[in-house]
């Protein structure tokens, strides 16, 4: 099936933008994801679709699936090279986050962070190589603090799945945030973290949560705003695993007021990432 979008589609998307009545910054995307069998060639159409939905900027987190949960240093470099290529192609539209495997050790982490910072990356992405409470996170967080980088930590409430050895629960992100109060942290996947996760991180002022994860379950965005405040919730989609339209409508279709929706969709991310 062709990935080109006819003018009819663009017109419809513009109508959709008017319906949404606000622009958005997406803090959680994977424009290059080989599970989708598209690689770099798929990123352009995906970003075009983002623009058609009224998204003005995305954070690219790298292909966190292609090499399993614990990629080697060389694999990490290739993933971050892909992200750097995408940023170079769309410098006004894409912010890169450096994907890391903290279990590779301090030297590898520091080297990769410095390589990515030199290429303009503004954050670090952590997936499921280890749990966020593990000691191997120290050099990661030290590098984040040193370079003023935002840390986006994958999280899911795993009380039933029992993979906590390497999978991070919201409670573990809260531990990380308390240990490193000077580092700004995005806890990914509000829907995966759920009510329990929101309550776990409530007291962590240096931590915000993105709205991505799972299906668009009712009531969670409102719950997060009620308990964390309107400034601590950010729009994120997790595309290509999720659909831009669905992800945006989690916020626009919520019972929140328009000012709060604008904060979640754009203003909070703009401030966090220091975008113009």
């Amino acid at each position: 099936m062709s990935l080109r979008y006819p003018s009819r589609t663009v017109a419809k998307a513009k109508r959709n933008l008017a319906e949404i009545f606000m622009r958005a910054i997406d803090v959680h995307t994977h424009p290059i994801l080989r599970e989708d069998r598209r690689g770099r060639t798929g990123a352009g159409p995906l970003l075009a679709r983002a623009r058609a939905h009224g998204i003005e900027h995305v954070v690219a987190l790298g292909d966190v699936l292609v090499h399993g949960r614990s990629p080697t240093a060389a694999q990490i470099r290739r993933i971050n090279d892909d992200t750097a290529w995408l940023v170079a192609q769309h410098p006004e539209f894409v912010t890169g986050f450096c994907y890391l495997n903290p279990t590779l050790g301090e030297h590898a982490v520091r080297h990769e962070v410095e390589r990515c910072v030199a290429r303009g990356f503004r954050g670090l992405k952590l997936e499921i190589a280890n749990n966020a409470r593990d000691a191997c996170m120290r050099p990661v967080m030290a590098a984040a603090e040193h370079h003023g980088l935002v840390v986006l930590q994958h999280a899911w409430s795993m009380t039933k799945i029992r993979q906590r050895r390497y999978h991070t629960d919201p409670e573990d992100v809260a531990t990380l945030a308390r240990r490193f109060p000077n580092v700004r942290i995005i806890m990914a996947h509000l829907t995966g973290c759920g009510v329990r996760g929101v309550l776990a991180v409530k007291a962590c002022a240096n931590l915000v949560v993105d709205t991505s994860g799972a299906a668009p379950e009712e009531g969670l965005v409102e719950f997060a705003v009620e308990h964390l405040g309107a400034n601590r919730v950010l729009y994120g989609s997790d595309v290509p695993v999720r659909d831009f339209g669905v992800a945006l409508a989690r916020v626009t279709g919520s019972r929140l007021d328009d000012a709060t929706k604008r904060k979640i969709l754009r203003e909070n991310a703009r401030a966090l990432l220091r975008l113009p």
Binding site: A214, E217, E218, G219, P240, V246, L248, A249, G253
Partner: protein
């Protein structure tokens, strides 16, 4: 665009903060989203010892509400399922029943389920298989539930080729396994998602197999609708998925 929703619920679900709709509040909620008709089932029948009282309540409270099409729940694991089916089928609005094998602790390959399929075929009623209500990872921590196995549904469909079946709650991967094998199977989109969901789903499923299902009030209705309304597909295909296919399944 007029939407015909395959997957809505009334009643209370105790494990989330979702709204507990009555039929009237559900109609009022769906209307602004362009949903003109919806198949609706009672949540109170899911966890109750027997679905009978909740089914009776559903049939009574939806009377006079043309926008809602009642879909009672049948539990073939109970000894009185034939009597329950006879009672609900006596209501002329009932053209389909819904089953929840994972919540009612039986398999689609069970003898009782095959008996139910035969009885539905005889009565010219359709079957809706609710594969899941909730993402298994997010079920209440004291519940140990998984979705209906796709292999069970595959075998069931092969054994009952004349029965009209709609599967609600299939994931993308499950849809991709089942849709090409079973061209007469209908599937709702409530749990199917990928960037540009419909174009992706249509790489494996035929345009006649997909139906809009919001899964209200578990899911945000506007978000479910966005899968269809923002899809980059032909208007004719969109109209079929928004409502035409379900209207054919449930005339």
């Amino acid at each position: 665009m007029n939407y015909f929703d395959a997957n809505t619920w009334v009643g209370r679900w105790p494990f989330s903060f979702q709204p507990a709709h009555t039929p009237r509040t559900l109609v009022a909620h769906l209307r602004p989203h362009g949903v003109r008709r919806a198949l609706v089932s009672p949540l109170d029948a899911v966890l109750a010892p027997s679905p009978g009282p909740a089914n009776r309540d559903l049939l009574r409270t939806t009377r006079g509400l043309a926008a809602l099409v009642p879909v009672p729940i049948i539990n073939p694991g109970l000894a009185d399922w034939r009597e329950e089916l006879a009672v609900v089928a006596a209501d002329s609005r009932v053209r389909a029943v819904r089953v929840l094998p994972n919540y009612h602790s039986y398999r689609l390959r069970s003898r009782a389920m095959h008996a139910l399929a035969a009885e539905l075929t005889r009565r010219r009623l359709a079957l809706i298989v609710q594969v899941r209500l909730v993402d298994e990872r997010h079920e209440f921590h004291a519940m140990r539930l998984k979705g209906v196995p796709p292999t069970d549904l595959d075998r069931f469909l092969k054994q009952h080729p004349k029965l009209r079946v709609l599967a609600c709650g299939l994931t993308r991967n499950e849809l991709f396994k089942l849709a090409p094998e079973h061209p007469h199977l209908l599937a709702d989109l409530s749990f199917v998602e990928w960037h540009d969901t419909l174009r992706d789903a249509l790489t494996k499923a035929s345009p006649r197999q997909l139906v809009f299902g919001s899964h209200t009030p578990f899911f945000i209705t506007a978000a479910s609708r966005a899968k269809v309304s923002t899809a980059a597909i032909r208007p004719r295909t969109m109209a079929a998925i928004a409502g035409g296919n379900l209207a054919r399944f449930h005339p």
